[in-house]
């Protein structure tokens, strides 16, 4: 604030200083609003328009904590813009102001603040020094590590702050100074957490030693969590093999540690700490078992799967360990807990442990649908074709999840075995034939043909439709003779399926067959046109024109639209002729179709259509002419800008601006 009490603001090029001042004053006043959304908005504005020195002044006033917090937030959001004012505030005679300024400097994320914060580490007020330490941590100030290390022998408050900051900064230079404090009970847990955050091999070594030597459960738990976190920074555990204390954890002399790990994994209750994003003790134990390959704990690891929240991490651990964990997975398959069975089943599939296939097959009858589906997927992953007869009955399982899993599995297993089992199953359960068609399409075999052909004649139209698609994928163009009779099927969906299948076949007879269908079957006309276009038939336009000329009324519109899409010049005369038809909707469709043609003849007729009495037609003419660059088209568009109908005139103006 200036001497006369006015607010300073950033100079705004488009507004005078008075309005800037009043805006800044209003924003500053809004910082004390009780309504939080309004205050948030004021904070965001203040970060941009209020002079940081004025915000510092608000921050320095201890009488309104809400306003102070809001000013600090605005200064934080201001980032680099706030830094010079905050650095000036560090020289304030009131330690509280210095402390708040130091606190905000960390949140500005501007590394320029680092040397100034380092200079505060020796401040007489411990809260100021702590604020500086916290901010150095937020700025990940590796250049401040040596200065922070020097604080490790100061009073407990600052020492703890420095330990925490060194962990947050994560520089390996801090490992040895931190490790030297592990013997100090008053700060040990903080040091353990910090070493876990640094996560280097050296830090892990110290944590492994501490884990081994810890007597009390809190140190053990803290070490465990820290190791879990450190292992996240060590994706390749082989690189840890030369760290003695780490390797010793897997030796017989660390049996007591292994027993404690087992206890953690089998404890039913895992504390969930809200707001704590670190690694849980169970998760960390599992990672230790994995990284150290603690074979005696493999079964415990699998049984820990009774906690469904651990499934992902346990799956990762089991798959990382590899086939060595198979015996433990076998135990898991017969566990009474369904989460453990599910974990074991998924891991067996992922590892390809074929020796456990019997146990997996036993789960096909599990009362839980998730388990039945997982067992089906595992058998598919194991490529266990001998299980096919056991899988086919699951195509009529009451659970959609299981049925879908069965389709997926049978599409991957040996086609001959699958075909035999499917045909056999269909004799028992005819209702599964549509699903069987899907499987046969995905997993073809010559032995399926007679079955598929039989389905083409089935009274069930859904099955006939599916059989058409399957036969087409099997035989390709050779299926034409089988599909042709189905173009006369009484069921339209069957005829459409046959047309769609034929549209995929590049065969000389297909186009003739489809063109005949075009003239004889209105209900499949759109499908036939689509098929002919996709086959690249250049005679389709003239055929369509013939059909168009035989039609009347609105039935002509879809044909006109398709002719526009094809854009074949053979359709130009017929479409132009329609510009004179009585039906305005047809004239409009013809104009829009002609917008795809770019000949001068078409353009001249579109220019003439600009005088059409119907507004939607003239509106369509605007769109059509906008596609042309010819001067006559531009002149007509200009004239349409003065059309008596405002909608047409506006559209023409917009288009003129766009193309102009």
């Amino acid at each position: 604030m200036t001497m006369d009490g006015k607010m300073r603001t950033n100079p705004a090029p488009s507004s005078g200083s008075e309005s800037s001042n009043s805006l800044a004053s209003a924003v500053l006043a809004a910082l004390e609003q009780v309504d939080r959304p309004a205050r948030s908005q004021a904070i965001a504005q203040a970060a941009e328009v209020v002079e940081p020195d004025d915000l510092i002044e608000v921050m320095s006033d201890g009488n309104d904590s809400r306003r102070r917090s809001a000013a600090m937030e605005a200064l934080s959001r201001g980032g680099t813009r706030s830094v010079p004012a905050l650095l000036r505030a560090l020289k304030d005679s009131d330690p509280e102001v210095v402390m708040f300024a130091a606190n905000v400097l960390g949140r500005t994320r501007d590394p320029a603040a680092i040397p100034h914060l380092v200079s505060l580490l020796d401040h007489a007020d411990p809260n100021v020094a702590q604020a500086a330490i916290d901010s150095l941590a937020q700025l990940r100030a590796t250049v401040a590590v040596n200065s922070l290390v020097k604080i490790l022998d100061r009073d407990p408050w600052l020492r703890f702050a420095a330990v925490n900051a060194l962990g947050e900064i994560g520089d390996t230079k801090a490992v040895e100074p931190l490790a030297s404090l592990l013997s100090d009970e008053t700060i040990r847990l903080g040091v353990v957490e910090a070493l876990g955050k640094i996560g280097s091999a050296e830090a892990l070594g110290h944590l492994a030693l501490m884990l081994h030597e810890s007597q009390d459960s809190s140190t053990f738990g803290a070490c465990l969590k820290a190791i879990g976190q450190a292992l996240e920074s060590q994706p390749d555990e082989k690189l840890l093999e030369n760290i003695g204390s780490w390797v010793r954890l897997s030796s017989p002399e660390a049996t007591d540690v292994q027993m404690r790990l087992a206890k953690v994994l089998t404890t039913s209750e895992e504390q969930t700490f809200a707001g704590d994003h670190g690694v849980g003790k169970k998760e960390a134990s599992a990672q230790l078992v994995r990284a150290l390959r603690l074979r005696p704990l493999y079964t415990t690891l699998v049984l820990a799967g009774c906690d469904p929240t651990l499934r992902e991490v346990l799956e990762f651990c089991a798959v990382s360990i590899g086939r060595d964990i198979s015996p433990a997975l076998g135990v898991g398959l017969s566990c009474s807990n369904k989460n453990v069975r599910l974990l074991a089943c998924r891991c067996i599939g992922a590892l390809g442990s074929s020796d456990l296939v019997t146990g997996v097959m036993a789960l096909l009858g599990d009362p839980d649908e998730t388990l039945r589906a997982a067992a089906v997927q595992a058998l598919a992953q194991l490529r266990h074709s001998d299980s096919t007869p056991a899988l086919t009955p699951l195509l009529s399982d009451r659970s959609l999840l299981v049925r879908n899993a069965a389709v997926g599995a049978l599409a991957q297993l040996d086609a001959e075995a699958v075909t035999s089992a499917l045909v056999h199953e269909c004799a028992q359960q005819p209702s599964i034939r549509p699903l069987v068609m899907d499987i046969m399409r995905l997993n073809p075999h010559p032995a399926q043909l007679s079955f598929i052909k039989a389905c083409l004649c089935d009274p069930d139209s859904v099955l006939r439709g599916k059989a058409i698609g399957t036969l087409a994928s099997h035989l390709g163009a050779n299926a034409v003779d089988f599909l042709q009779p189905l173009l006369a099927d009484p069921d339209v969906s069957t005829r459409r399926a046959a047309v769609a299948a034929l549209g995929q076949m590049h065969h000389s007879s297909v186009n003739q067959v489809l063109l005949r269908q075009l003239e004889t079957d209105r209900e499949t006309r759109a499908d036939v046109i689509h098929a002919l276009v996709s086959l690249g038939d250049n005679s389709v336009a003239s055929r369509l024109v013939n059909i168009l000329q035989g039609e009347s009324g609105m039935a002509r519109i879809p044909l006109i639209e398709v002719l526009g899409q094809i854009g074949d010049p053979a359709a130009e005369p017929a479409l132009i002729k329609l510009l004179a038809t009585e039906d305005a909707a047809v004239r409009r469709a013809a104009v829009l179709a002609l917008s795809r043609f770019h000949s001068r003849v078409v353009m001249r007729h579109l220019v003439a259509a600009a005088k059409d009495s119907d507004i939607p037609v003239r509106r369509a003419v605007v769109e059509a002419l906008a596609q042309h660059t010819d001067p006559a088209a531009r002149a007509t568009l200009d004239r349409l800008c003065l059309d008596l109908d405002p909608e047409v005139a506006n559209a023409a103006r917009r288009r003129t601006e766009t193309v102009g």
Binding site: R36, N63, A274
Partner: protein, 134 residues
């Protein structure tokens, strides 16, 4: 049944200090939040704690605003709230206690101070007071 405390402070160091100081207490579970708004979210998700420690000066929602809202919702009557703050002038303490805080702990404090407060308030209700930090 474990006692639960909720620590609300935007400083990671203070939250870590609570974990280190109270992590040893067998029957205690520590939940954490970075500001008053997040504290209400934690309470909504995990239920009401037995004791709340809260800083005054925090972004988004500060400690006094948390207390005002806690009074409105009735939370303040059920759960003791203790202020932990660097702002240690008499009027700061008075404002905190008037807003409904059960006690006012000045930073820096010793871990033992936290243990004493927990044993005093998380176990039973106590009257308003002012604990001087060291």
């Amino acid at each position: 049944m474990k006692r639960t405390i909720l620590v609300v402070d935007d400083s990671s160091m203070v939250r870590a200090l609570f974990r280190a100081a109270l992590g040893d207490v067998e029957d205690l579970q520590i939940h954490q939040a970075c500001n008053g708004e997040q504290a209400f979210q934690v309470i909504k998700q995990f239920g009401e704690p037995d004791l709340v420690f809260i800083d005054v000066n925090m972004p988004v929602m500060d400690g006094l605003e948390f207390l005002a809202l806690a009074a409105k919702t009735g939370l303040q009557q059920r759960v003791p709230v203790v202020i932990i703050s660097t702002e240690g002038r008499d009027e700061d303490v008075r404002r905190g206690l008037e807003a409904g805080a059960r006690e006012y702990v000045r930073k820096p404090f010793q871990p033992q101070t936290l243990l004493d407060v927990v044993e005093r308030l998380a176990a039973k209700s106590g009257g308003p007071g002012n604990t001087q930090g060291e």
